[in-house]
């Protein structure tokens, strides 16, 4: 298993209740897995625990077989992460930022040259990559975040609400890239509240609501039923549409 989460529980304040509780996720290479939920359901908290950005109180997380608490460096080497806020060092140029991360992941000169040039073409960044990030639009920052997350060719790519703000053409290119990337034996794990994207892009999805994992959906199996996914999602999250 590339990602193995057992009984994950996280509370932000000792006095308050758990924000997420007893989350169990198992994903392997070759898959695209979505974490689905309403706003505030606990998707981002789960992702932030998975990427070591937030500490967690209960359970275990293993990435590429390495426990995130016991072997944090090895576990972190296994994934690339794109956050929902596209937080970057704004004074660096896009190239400098990607190159900085390549240094951190110890990517060789030849590999980084080949990957940067490939992504430059794929995301149609052109020479704008040499401009300071502070001058970038939202979409540009997103593309640089993708490049930075993929520079070390990780087995696991974790994305938090990755497609917001991308133009349709880039979105379709990004999606097809990630599809082919997963077919090479890698795992794409991402959070979203966009049912349509998850349904058509993922092999499987975990539905989270109010910090609890409600359901695991296998879309290959699900398509065989005549159930509308939108209605199904609302029914299990107990928020049936008024219409």
């Amino acid at each position: 298993m590339l990602v193995e989460v057992n009984g994950l529980g996280k509370k932000y304040d000792k006095k308050t209740d758990f924000t997420i509780k007893d989350i169990n996720i198992k994903c392997d290479g070759g898959e695209i897995v979505g974490i689905l939920g309403h706003n505030g359901a606990g998707k981002s908290t789960t992702i932030k625990c998975l990427t070591a950005m937030h500490p967690y109180e209960e359970g275990t997380i293993k990435i590429c077989g390495h426990d995130l608490k016991a072997e944090p460096i090895e576990a972190k080497k296994g994934f690339g992460y794109v956050s929902d806020e596209f937080v970057l060092f704004e004074k660096m140029t896009g190239y400098e930022f990607v190159n900085f991360l390549a240094d951190v992941y110890n990517v060789t000169k030849e590999e980084r040259k080949q990957r940067i040039e490939h992504f430059q073409t794929l995301f149609m960044l052109g020479d704008a990559i040499y401009n300071p990030i502070s001058t970038y639009s939202h979409g540009m920052k997103q593309k640089i975040s993708f490049m930075a997350a993929l520079i070390h060719n990780p087995k696991v790519v974790i994305l938090d609400e990755p497609f917001i703000g991308l133009d349709p053409f880039t979105m379709s290119q990004v999606k097809s890239f990630f599809k082919s990337y997963s077919q090479q034996g890698n795992l794409i794990l991402f959070s979203s509240h966009d049912l349509n994207t998850v349904q058509h892009f993922c092999n499987r999805a975990y539905i989270i609501d109010q910090g609890v994992l409600l359901q695991e959906v296998n879309f290959e199996e699900f398509k065989k039923t005549d159930v509308d996914f939108y209605e199904y999602f609302l029914s299990i999250t107990k928020r049936v549409s008024k219409s």
Partner: protein
């Protein structure tokens, strides 16, 4: 009208947000108190000095004739000129931030509001800002003159007129000057090296001017008279300059009751021209900025080569870039660090001569140590934002395969290198330009460098423990100000204990008549040993504090 009022109220709230008190927010009460005390101290000092200078200047005789009214008018001219320069500088900054940066223009552009109302609301806010600024700067000047000259009630009516008209003229002058300022700012954009040179040059000039002023004050204190500066040649030269200094001389004449009608006409003429210019320039700037794409950027022609660097070096390079390319950080760190040797030298020589005159003693080692310690604290204040200045990007670093100790070490090393270079340079200059021996300077450096590293470690750990990350850099810096205050206070306390103990022991051992320590035959050793011991204790404490649960603190940081 209601749309204008809504926008105006919103603009006022934004511009004067620093005055609002939010009970829910954690306030840096200690920091605010220190700032208020410092500001009050500066005001009292300026008013006292200004009153003394005024009294001294009014008593100057030209061709053996005493002319208090003439001297008072000249003096008021000088005070108004200084006030107006300050007001113009602040007004240019305000105009730039309000009219040419326009933080929330994307939101405004989407709303069904008239552009003209938005423009008027911004213009009105700048004007109100100018009136308040005028009252803060001009009123104390007039109060000083009222106390010194005891004029009639009409003086206050004329003051009201000056407070009303001068801000309008200031707006007009600022509107003319903002155009080259914008051009210069555009030219300097991304020319970080040039910005650094300009900042350093400006700071050096300001400091040299300041030290010259201190020398004058020192001479004044020693001789008890200011007439060595204000002689008839000086007054004649000044009179020649002032007669061309429109409209400042008209304001001064109006206040002093000289050529009232002519002065008023000239002032009103200036006001009319100012209104026209400020309206035209502001309108143009506002509309140009409103539809300008702020993300436009010229792409570099030369492309960098692909290189692979060790991760520690790469992290340090990132630190350097983030400081070097941010003008505010560049100034508060690199410029201060590079200017420190000059500041240290000036303060050292000034204090040395003050102590020599007061006690008849020449202190070298203890004084150099005290000055170096205090200014290393000043440089290292910047390190209190080592974590928080990265903002949310620091949290992103938690997902990277870097050990917390390594990540923080690069920050400490980066600051340590800058600080050490600054201390070394200061030491070399002191050794070359003063009478202090090389051995003493070496010892000073050996004490101050570890002290500086200890200070950086404490600052970094404090910031790691308390860092809060908000959406904008300004908000993040404001909320993390508490750490800066703590770091300064801790450092100052230790530096003063070390430096002052050393100075006092030296004074006690050398002072005429006291000679308490000299009887112990350890006078020299005491003034060396005690600071070394305190420094070692402080350094060890800093290491222990820094390493205590560092990984857990790093893991628990969620901003």
């Amino acid at each position: 009208m209601s749309e204008f009022l809504t926008l105006f109220k919103h603009e006022l709230k934004m511009q004067f947000a620093f005055l609002s008190y939010n009970k829910k927010k954690k306030h840096d009460i200690l920091g605010s108190l220190l700032s208020i005390l410092l500001t009050l101290g500066v005001i009292v000092l300026i008013v006292t000095l200004a009153t003394k200078i005024a009294n001294g200047y009014i008593g100057v005789k030209v061709n053996k004739v005493l002319s208090p009214n003439q001297r008072a008018t000249e003096l008021l001219n000088i005070f108004y000129a200084i006030s107006m320069v300050m007001m113009v500088l602040i007004c240019i900054l305000k105009m730039r931030s309000t009219l040419t940066i326009q933080k929330h223009k994307e939101i405004y552009l989407k709303l069904p509001i008239k552009e003209q109302n938005l423009f008027l609301s911004k213009l009105a806010t700048i004007m109100i800002w100018n009136f308040i600024l005028g009252a803060i700067i001009i009123l104390p000047v007039n109060i000083i003159f009222y106390i010194a000259l005891q004029p009639s009630f009409v003086f206050w009516l004329k003051t009201a007129l000056v407070l009303l008209l001068m801000p309008i003229v200031v707006f007009g002058i600022s509107a003319v000057l903002i155009l080259p300022v914008i051009k210069i700012v555009e030219f300097l954009k991304n020319k970080y090296w040039l910005v650094f040179v300009i900042f350093t040059g400006a700071l050096v000039v300001v400091f040299l001017g300041y030290s010259k002023l201190l020398q004058v004050i020192q001479l004044w204190l020693e001789t008890g008279s200011i007439k060595f500066l204000f002689n008839s040649n000086f007054v004649n030269g000044l009179q020649n300059c002032l007669k061309w200094l429109y409209p400042i001389n008209c304001f001064a004449n109006l206040m002093m009751g000289n050529k009232i009608a002519l002065s008023l006409i000239v002032i009103l003429l200036f006001v009319a021209i100012s209104v026209a210019i400020s309206w035209f320039v502001s309108n143009r700037l506002f509309h140009l900025t409103l539809y300008k794409n702020s993300n436009e950027h010229k792409t570099k022609k030369s492309k960098p080569k692909y290189t692979q660097t060790n991760s520690i070096l790469s992290l340090m390079k990132k630190e350097f870039i983030c400081v070097y390319r941010n003008p505010s950080h560049l100034f508060s760190y690199f410029t201060i660090a590079i200017s420190m040797p000059l500041i240290v030298y000036c303060c050292y020589t000034l204090f040395e001569s003050l102590i020599l005159n007061a006690f008849g003693l020449k202190i070298t080692f203890s004084l150099a140590l005290l000055v170096l310690l205090i200014f290393s604290i000043l440089t290292n204040t910047f390190c209190a934002t080592n974590v928080s200045r990265d903002g949310l990007a620091f949290l992103k670093m938690k997902s990277l395969p870097i050990k917390p100790a390594k990540l923080l070490l690069t920050k400490i090393l980066f600051c340590g290198i800058v600080s050490t270079l600054s201390i070394l340079l200061s030491g070399i200059i002191l050794a070359l330009a003063t009478s202090i021996t090389f051995v003493d300077i070496l010892l000073c450096i050996l004490i101050v460098v570890p002290f500086s590293f200890a200070q950086i470690m404490i600052a970094t750990k404090l910031d790691l423990k308390n860092a809060k990350f908000l959406s904008t850099q300004a908000e993040t810096e404001a909320i993390n100000g508490k750490t800066v205050t703590k770091v300064i206070l801790i450092g100052l306390l230790v530096a003063l204990v070390m430096g002052i103990i050393s100075v006092v022991i030296y004074l006690l051992s050398q002072g005429s008549g006291i000679k308490i320590i000299s009887n112990l035959k350890l006078k020299e050793i005491y003034s060396y040993i005690l600071p070394i011991v305190i420094c070692v204790i402080y350094f060890v404490c800093a290491i222990v504090y820094y390493n205590h649960k560092i990984d857990k603190t790093f893991d628990n940081l969620i901003g």
